[in-house]
């Protein structure tokens, strides 16, 4: 167990190293740099460009730039953005909680919708209720998030009145106000994601309900709710949990659409701005935080498997 966690932490460091290198070197392929943004493309002399580049260290060989950046990161300092003049650490600290909250809320809500519906659909497999659940969720899944988001935004600002505010309020300033600004963005992500959770739950439950141990349980007169919620569900949870872990990572990295539509100051929107402004420091910090969260969430998922499946206990 301790060894497993240690191994995964080493893995995390490796992942972060690779991610940072890839993002750094790919970033240099984007035409233009911070100097272009700072000095402006019109009316500046080549000398001015040169001076700014020299100050930012952009004239150093790439490997030297990367090493300098790495020195800071190892000490937990992502540097100061040349564009905004603010500390990158501060930017991330303000953006991360927004995205994390949105992802958590969306994961919870989509599970709360998808899991029971999936179980219900599996129990009523190939009957009319199963058909209705699956088609409805398939339709919501087919609507792109930006369409659903814009629709919800319109509905929210037109009809929901006090239930929705378009200005983001941090949790620290009151959970009620915070939820007012979070509820619609959460919904617009959670609805399509719940379709995925429902489908996986249905498939996994159906497979388990056809296993011989279910017949054994029925033959001993076990109650229906035990058969469904203990015998079948406990075995069906492993693949569902894997999906949830992946969903979490994909959501966190794909929030920019929703954050942009609903004007939420999160990591996704921050990254988008950073890329358009060639703010490499902010871009790399954002990417690394997302990658680290993804890996950590999946380590937690891996740690949960042995609780569900005792056969995995010896190997971890």
């Amino acid at each position: 167990m301790i060894r497993f966690v240690a191994e995964r932490l080493i893995g995390l460091v490796l992942v972060l190293f690779v991610v940072s290198a890839v993002v750094f070197f790919l970033g240099t392929f984007i035409p233009g740099d911070a100097a272009t943004i700072l000095v402006g493309s019109e009316g500046a002399t080549p000398e001015q460009f040169e001076r700014v580049r020299e100050e930012l260290g952009l004239n150093d060989p790439l490997i030297v730039q990367y090493a300098n950046w790495m020195k800071g990161v190892v000490r937990g300092d992502f540097g100061t953005s040349p564009i905004t003049g603010r500390s990158v650490n501060d930017e991330i600290k303000s953006q991360f909680p927004v995205s994390m909250e949105l992802t958590l809320l969306a994961t919870i809500l989509s599970t709360v919708i998808g899991l029971p519906l999936g179980i219900f659909a599996a129990i009523h497999a190939n009957r009319i209720t199963d058909f209705i659940i699956r088609t409805t969720l398939l339709v919501t899944f087919s609507v792109p998030i930006f369409v659903a988001g814009i629709l919800l935004l319109l509905i929210g600002s037109r009809w929901l009145g006090p239930l929705y505010t378009s200005t983001y309020t941090p949790i620290s300033e009151g959970i009620g106000k915070n939820l007012q600004s979070m509820i619609l963005p959460t919904l617009s992500i959670a609805i399509p994601v719940s379709a995925m959770t429902m489908q996986m739950t249905r498939t996994s439950m159906l497979e388990m309900l056809n296993r011989p141990f279910i017949t054994t349980a029925r033959a001993k007169g076990a109650r229906r709710r035990n058969i469904l919620y203990i015998h079948a569900l406990k075995n069906a949870m492993s693949p569902i949990l894997t999906l949830l872990g992946f969903q979490f990572g994909i959501l966190l990295g794909g929030l920019f659409v929703v954050e942009t539509i609903f004007s939420l100051p999160g990591l996704g929107r921050g990254l988008l701005t950073a890329i358009s402004q060639r703010d490499y420091l902010l871009m790399m910090a954002g990417t690394m935080v997302i990658a680290a969260t993804f890996v950590i969430v999946n380590v937690i998922v891996d740690l949960a498997y042995p609780i569900l499946d005792p056969r995995q206990r010896d190997t971890t």
Partner: protein, 348 residues
């Protein structure tokens, strides 16, 4: 066994009449079990034998009303201690399963839930039927049963998971589970097929001992004639979804009254004739989506006659014996069987 049986002074535990179970599959209707009738008396072991696909497992599933989809019991009556099971509500049926009627299934490796502790799974068999649902009471019984089926350190072993046990041990646990509430009838579907021969013998001994101690009736479903000879009082032979013969065990082996049984017994290896090639039953079982109209064994039967194009009933052919064959019903035997086979060979 017919209604005017000489044992009608004693009430059967299980009385099955005209049981017909079909599978409504996409490729056609499979006539898995057709008009099956038999009785099981208290403390008796009835063997149901037949090849794969003969309908013996579906018969077992039908009795517990656990026929998998798209199968359905379409006709018949199943009475357990006089109660018609086919009329019961789902909840009433649940209360019977595992309490007065239990099942030991085929493959011990897949029969137990891999994610739950053995003790919990055994407890559940008790708690599903106790008024209080008490965990403590259940655990006391669980330990008793684990000890009864020969598992030492019941305390500790109850906390193990199925994967921590061998196949033979798991089958003992499945048997313990079936015995939890001392049922009056247990149905064992190929309980030893998935086990090694030495383990098979142990499990058979264990079952015999438990049956004797608790005066429990057993329906033993198997294709293993050795197991039948070792355990059963009476045997019903199934072919193509029908019972073709029913007889006390000794008489079946001595004097089979249906050509399928006759051929089945001839194809068993014998210790005294090591070098002889084993006769096999020529042909293959009929397509059960469209069973033949006459005698279902006709196409493979060395004794087939014109009359066999009519479907024979399962009729009395002797004391406590029934067979579904025109030849034995009129009093002829298969004593000349081997000669007949040779004659047929010459003709064709």
């Amino acid at each position: 066994m017919s209604d005017d049986s000489e044992r009608n002074d004693e009430q059967p535990v299980l009385r099955v009449r005209g049981l017909t179970t079909r599978f409504f599959a996409s490729f056609g209707i499979v006539h898995a079990v057709s008009d099956v009738s038999f009785d099981v008396y208290p403390g008796e072991t009835l063997g149901i034998v037949g090849e794969s696909g003969s309908g013996k497992s579906v018969t077992a599933q039908s009795i517990l009303r656990l026929v998998p989809k798209p199968g359905r019991i379409v006709a018949g009556s199943i009475k357990l201690d006089g109660v018609e099971l086919l009329d019961l509500e789902a909840e009433e049926m649940r209360r019977i399963r595992g309490r007065t009627l239990s099942m030991v299934s085929q493959n011990p490796l897949t029969a137990l839930n891999p994610a739950l502790r053995i003790g919990w799974q055994l407890d559940e068999a008790h708690r599903s039927h106790s008024k209080t649902g008490s965990k403590k009471e259940a655990r006391v019984r669980t330990k008793e049963m684990l000890t009864a089926v020969g598992i030492a350190d019941a305390d500790e072993r109850a906390n193990s998971y199925p994967y921590e046990y061998s196949g033979g041990m798991r089958q003992r646990i499945v048997i313990a589970m079936g015995m939890m509430n001392e049922p009056s009838l247990m149905i064992a579907d190929e309980p030893t097929t998935a086990l090694d021969v030495t383990i098979q013998a142990q499990v058979i001994e264990l079952m015999k001992q438990l049956i004797e101690e608790h005066n429990m009736a057993l329906v033993l479903i198997t294709h293993n004639m050795g197991v039948v000879a070792n355990m059963c009082d009476r045997v019903a032979v199934m072919y193509a979804g029908e019972i073709v013969e029913e007889a006390p065990i000794d008489e079946l082996f001595e004097d089979p009254k249906h050509p399928y049984t006759w051929a089945l017994l001839r194809s068993l290896p014998s210790i005294t004739e090591i070098d002889t090639e084993l006769p096999t039953i020529s042909g293959s079982p009929p397509d059960m989506t469209d069973p033949p109209s006459g005698c279902r064994f006709r196409a493979r039967c060395p004794f087939a006659e014109a009359v066999c194009e009519e479907h024979p009933d399962l009729d009395i052919v002797g004391d406590r014996r029934r067979a579904r064959c025109w030849v034995t019903q009129r009093g002829d035997s298969f004593a000349r069987g081997d000669e007949l086979l040779i004659d047929k060979g010459k003709q064709s």
